[in-house]
């Protein structure tokens, strides 16, 4: 177990989020069972009064994730120093089974919380709570996810031991202290490149279709969401190689280091933003059975679609720029 301040901070953030989400989950159950806007019963009034609290809780959970995600990555990256064979964050994450799942769960939690807030915004704009059931169903998904994330992260840090000098450090060499795998295997470059620009191209086309004819909001949302895993695969498969100008260094985290101009932030921020908006829009539109919500979406969705499309364009443009100006030749003529 490593006792470190950032780790304590991460635990506390998770714990606070869970403490707030548990009552929110109980409330969600009540909403799903008893919600009836036509009734004037005291219970319905109580439920209506409580919805802003749940929104505030989810807002805080999202804020926590926005803070915890970079904190987690930075902490893990720094700890590479204390683990034999780990060169950067990938090495630490590979030090035991729980590292990568913890990161992925955290990213998932971030997207769900962001999507929830977007749905909540749409829901508030309509007069008759059209998304209330979908929203609180999602809370019931977020709560266990947050609990699992906290648990997996705890397991990860508990099993992580710094390799410090022992009274007889011969043991360090002889007793098979395995050096952790510091590499991430990447997909082949060329197909991944096609997949990346293809997915983003399709998403942009769907955005165009929506802005012109007000159709295909769900496909746009799905494509924008799908862009995230494809883009991450692309970063691991070829973008990082072009940045480091090294044919074997696949790390998606070293991009955040000052050595590479922190270019990772320029890549990840628009990508995360676009994906969060895409997911929120896809979920909102998928549950838009009532006319009121369709009207709300018609008014509120276009600027969001433009924002998400701009984020994806920015990512693709930056990726193309990195590829073009790199000195590394990955794909032969």
């Amino acid at each position: 177990m490593m006792v470190q301040t950032p780790i304590l901070a991460l635990f506390m953030a998770d714990l606070l989020g869970l403490l707030l989400l548990i009552p929110a989950g109980l409330f969600a159950l009540q909403v799903l069972r008893h919600w009836d806007p036509s009734s004037g019963r005291a219970q319905q009034l109580r439920l209506e009064k409580r919805t802003p609290l749940v929104a505030a809780i989810l807002g805080l959970v999202l804020l926590t994730q926005i803070l915890a995600l970079p904190l987690f990555v930075h902490t893990v990256d720094r700890m590479a120093l204390q683990i034999v064979g780990a060169m950067c964050a990938v090495g630490t994450l590979n030090a035991n089974f729980w590292g990568l799942p913890a990161l992925l769960l955290r990213i998932g939690l971030f997207f769900l919380a962001a999507a929830w807030l977007l749905m909540h915004r749409m829901d508030k704009l309509a007069p008759d709570y059209p998304l209330i059931r979908a929203k609180y169903g999602l809370v019931l998904l977020i709560l266990p996810l947050a609990a699992v994330t906290a648990g997996v992260q705890l397991a990860f840090f508990l099993q992580l031991d710094p390799d410090v000098i022992t009274s007889c450090c011969g043991s360090l060499f002889s007793q098979g202290s395995e050096s952790v795998a510091a590499h991430m295997a990447g997909l082949p470059a060329l197909p991944t490149m096609f997949a990346l620009y293809g997915t983003i191209g399709l998403a942009l086309a769907a955005a165009g279709v929506y802005l012109r004819w007000r159709r295909a909001l769900v496909p746009f949302g799905i494509l924008a969401t799908l862009s995230f895993p494809v883009a991450i695969a692309a970063i691991v498969a070829f973008l990082s190689l072009y940045v480091y100008e090294h044919p074997l260094h696949h790390c998606p985290f070293c991009l955040l280091q000052p050595d590479y101009g922190r270019i990772g932030y320029a890549l990840y921020l628009p990508l995360f933003g676009a994906t969060a908006i895409g997911l929120g829009l896809a979920l909102s539109a998928a549950f838009a059975r009532r006319q009121s919500l369709r009207d709300v979406l018609a008014a509120a969705a276009p600027p969001l679609v433009i924002t998400a499309a701009a984020g994806l364009t920015l990512f693709a443009a930056l990726a193309a720029w990195i590829t073009s100006q790199s000195n590394l030749i990955l794909i032969g003529y």
């Binding site: 006792v3 301040t5 506390m12």
Partner: protein
């Protein structure tokens, strides 16, 4: 665009109102702010200090030899014979093998330990010494003065001070006492052909582990220590110490969260009436919530700024007088050094998670409770 502008304008008016309403309850808010700043200050001091020490240790160890070979006898560090050094010279990948002589000497006059060292170049004249700045200060010694030590055989060994080391490298050299090899051997009674340990230089860092294994094979009674291991250990130790200092502070953190909860939920009759009137004139629950969040946000921002600024000054300006005894170690002749500012985003993020998140979480429910108050409930 007009909608965005409207939203922004709305938030600006809310902010205006919040600032006015906070300044109306100045004492109450100032009290909370003071506690909040204190909390941030404490945590930030610990974080900044430990990272500065880690930074400093990293700088020091950058100069350390790649591998240090010590001889172990019955689990204790013992002198290593020069033949050992010879057998290490044959290992492929080792460029320089160097026997080192160093040790400690307790000086009853200032009740402190000095680090005696024979510099590798052996450029100190016999009978003279070059000393560290803290040592010079403690003994009030200048160039040309004579310091005498009682040797292992009871005789006095006088050393004329030839030079004082510069202040810049104080963390490493504060208590140093550089002497010639012959003087060192005479003072401690170490026979010729014996060394304290052996330093190896390995040009290719990827060969270090292999060389260390070969050292262990060639000299089973030895203990090779890699520089990377030292770095790892220092890093872990400083992290661990700062977390140990922080753990007891978690009680204070809890107390702070309770205070914030109390302050946010104990609405005065005045405030309740204010909220009631606001709602009666058309404010919605969401507006009151936004106003209250602005209040918490402003308070947190101010506390965070003041707290970190004060901690920065405390650690890098004053060299952390409140923390030094716990975090540095226990040496008496500790150097009087200024730490190089070393702050990164990780620490600020961790600090934010440790202070602002608990505050926001603790005030969430009370704020909501205040916001859903019905106007007729309070104005009746």
């Amino acid at each position: 665009m007009t909608e965005l502008r409207r939203t922004l304008a709305r938030q600006r008016y809310l902010l205006d109102y919040t600032v006015a309403s906070m300044s109306r309850r100045r004492t109450r808010n100032l009290g909370l702010l003071l506690v909040y700043v204190g909390m941030v200050f404490l945590l930030a001091s610990v974080l900044f200090y430990s990272s500065a020490l880690k930074h400093e240790a990293g700088l020091l160890l950058a100069e350390a030899p790649d591998i240090v070979v010590q001889r172990m006898v019955a689990g204790r560090h013992a002198l290593i014979p020069a033949q050992h050094a010879e057998s290490l010279r044959g290992i492929r990948g080792v460029r320089v093998v160097e026997g080192r002589l160093w040790g400690y000497h307790y000086d009853p006059a200032v009740r402190a330990n000095y680090t005696l060292l024979v510099p590798p170049a052996d450029d100190v004249e016999p009978g003279t010494a070059v000393i560290g700045p803290a040592l010079a200060r403690a003994r009030g010694a200048g160039i040309g003065d004579v310091l005498s030590f009682r040797g292992q055989d009871g005789t006095l060994h006088p050393f004329r001070i030839a030079a004082i080391l510069p202040q810049e490298s104080a963390l490493a050299s504060a208590d140093l006492f550089l002497v010639a090899e012959s003087d060192f051997r005479a003072l401690f009674g170490i026979p010729e052909g014996q060394y304290t340990d052996i330093a190896l230089q390995i040009p290719n860092p990827r060969e270090e582990r292999t060389v260390a294994e070969k050292v262990l094979e060639a000299l089973p009674d030895s203990r090779p220590i890699l520089r990377a291991e030292m770095l790892r250990t220092y890093d872990a130790v400083f992290d661990w110490r700062s977390a140990l200092v922080l753990l007891p502070l978690s009680g204070a953190l809890l107390a702070f969260a309770i205070l914030a909860w109390e302050k946010a939920s104990g609405l005065s009759a005045d405030e309740r009436r204010e909220i009631g009137i606001l709602k009666a004139v058309g404010w919605e629950t969401g507006d009151i919530l936004s106003m209250k969040f602005w209040e918490g946000g402003l308070l947190s921002l101010l506390a965070f700024l003041f707290g970190t600024a004060a901690a920065y000054w405390h650690v890098f300006g004053l060299s952390a007088p409140l923390l030094a005894p716990v975090m540095q170690g226990w040496s008496v002749l500790y150097p009087d050094f200024r730490l190089t500012p070393a702050i990164d985003a990780t620490q600020l993020l961790a600090l934010f998670c440790l202070t602002v998140l608990p505050y926001l979480a603790a005030t969430l429910v009370p704020v909501w409770r205040a916001a859903v108050t019905d106007p007729d409930e309070v104005m009746r």
